[in-house]
Amino acid sequence: MTHEDYVAPDGASISPLIFSDPALYELEKRRIFGRAWLLLGHLSQLPRPGSFLRTFMGEESVLVTRDRNGKIHAHLNACRHRGFQVCQEDRGTTTRFQCRYHGWTYDSDGSLVMVPGEDQLYYSEIDKCRWGLVAVARVETYKGLIFGNFDADAPSLQDFLGDMAWYLDIILDRREGGTELLGPQRWRIAANWKVVAENHCGDEYHIGFAHGSALPPDLLSSNRAAPLQFAREIRPGLGHGLGANIFPDHMSPRDWLNQGPPSPPCVLDYMVRVYDEMAERLGQQRAHISLIHGAVWPNFGMVPIFNTLRVIQPRGVNEVELWSYCVVDRDAPPEVKAWVSAHSTRAFGPAGSFEQDDAGNWTAVTRSSHGVESRKHRLNLQMGVGHEERSDRMPGEFGLTASEINQRGFYLRWMRDMFEGACS
């Protein structure tokens, strides 16, 4: 099998090999995680000078800081002397990262500010300017979210997001005050990262079966293959994907809010108020869109219908660490925030009624992909192929309530990044 066979030209079938080949994973580290914009966190997590958090880009430990002047930085969390991780905590406040091994000390802007014995032992011959922490080549933010990119020549974050930004605003920009993140919850799943990512990116199809235990019975009894009446799969391009309810113009927010699971009056009232603000900020069309699921290429997933954003951190070819956050409007009243986070964590996260069952799907698909016999057969991604549509009111291409339009987009982007004009 040559690499051209990994993903069919139309994306409608793939080889299981891409979930299980360790050599491909090594290549992904460089060609995917070494080039894409990766989610690092949210400005609200770094409230003041000296705030820091530790996260990962691919498998690299990364230190994200707000320096004394309020500027955001991201650096490899590795001392330049021998590589010791200068930061050992998930978060906190400090402006001084002293390496524990020999005491080299870095400022929160990454510069090397102190080397023990610099004059005597190093004979004043060490050029401290050359030995600061290694900066992540690019750091940019989009409406509160902080992204990093190892590739100095990458397109801008805005260009990278493309039309996905138009949809992301529905979560991130619907209110003046923006959003904040709670969490993360973190757990390990023995699955290839792409299996998890494609699910977030485009899989509305699984909801009726995989999540049959969590859905209200009346939804189930109707049409289990496509339980969500107004839902569409939307492919904004560039490997991103999402699914959303697009409510008809004639509906008002109370109409659709009453169709979902019951919320307390304070939440309902809040949602209606948000609708008005959103309509003003983003226009009528976007105010009528409610995001269900989605993923920003390559590994930033989300289930906005339950207010969760997550990073699918790869941990080898067979494992991921899921970092799951709850996103809330910063200026929402406390009782709304409390309800939203409880509601979110009862559905998503490791103990959620939905997500409990997802892990088993992802590990099972990953396991199958290892069999030499199983690998001889291609997986089927043909749902809706050739039936993509466009709209003059919204960017991107559209599939039905359930469609594999987005998975195809995801794997075609993967092919492009992995094998087109690649030389690193």
Partner: protein, 178 residues
Amino acid sequence: MNSEGMMRLLQVQQWLYREARLLDSRRYDLWLEMLDDQVRYRVPSRAYIRQAHVKDFATWSVERELECDDALALIDDDLAALQLRVARLQTGMAWAETPPSMTRRLVSNVMLLDSDADGSLSVVSTLFLAKNRSEGRALFTAERRDRLVIRGDDFRLRERFVVLDDVVLSSENLSQIF
């Protein structure tokens, strides 16, 4: 500890053992009957947070690592939520427990911390939970901080706060009750 206190301690211990056995036997229906109407059941997330000074061991507390309430817990349930958790298992589509996990709970280090004026008991215990599935085994250790209310000869769980000893869970989900 007088002999009355001793008796109470042993009763609580036996109550916790009975609870563990019901859960290991997957009798979630009977377990629900052990809960008080007002029950609150929480499992916080846990994180490593930079410590400023360390001289005073009182500042080394486990509490500062726990994320609950204003942060994002792993579980924060009331009775209705727990009932839903159990009802889910009965739908025939709760795949995370199909076939059901083989679990085993060791409950140890049971201590009665105090009795409140309202007669409720504050109990801590240590839990070791092994959860086996064909995909592998997950091991959990935790401290459980319970509040039990007395109902005649028996108790009801009013509050449980579970301090798991993991920052990143090594289990693919939390499909079991602690």
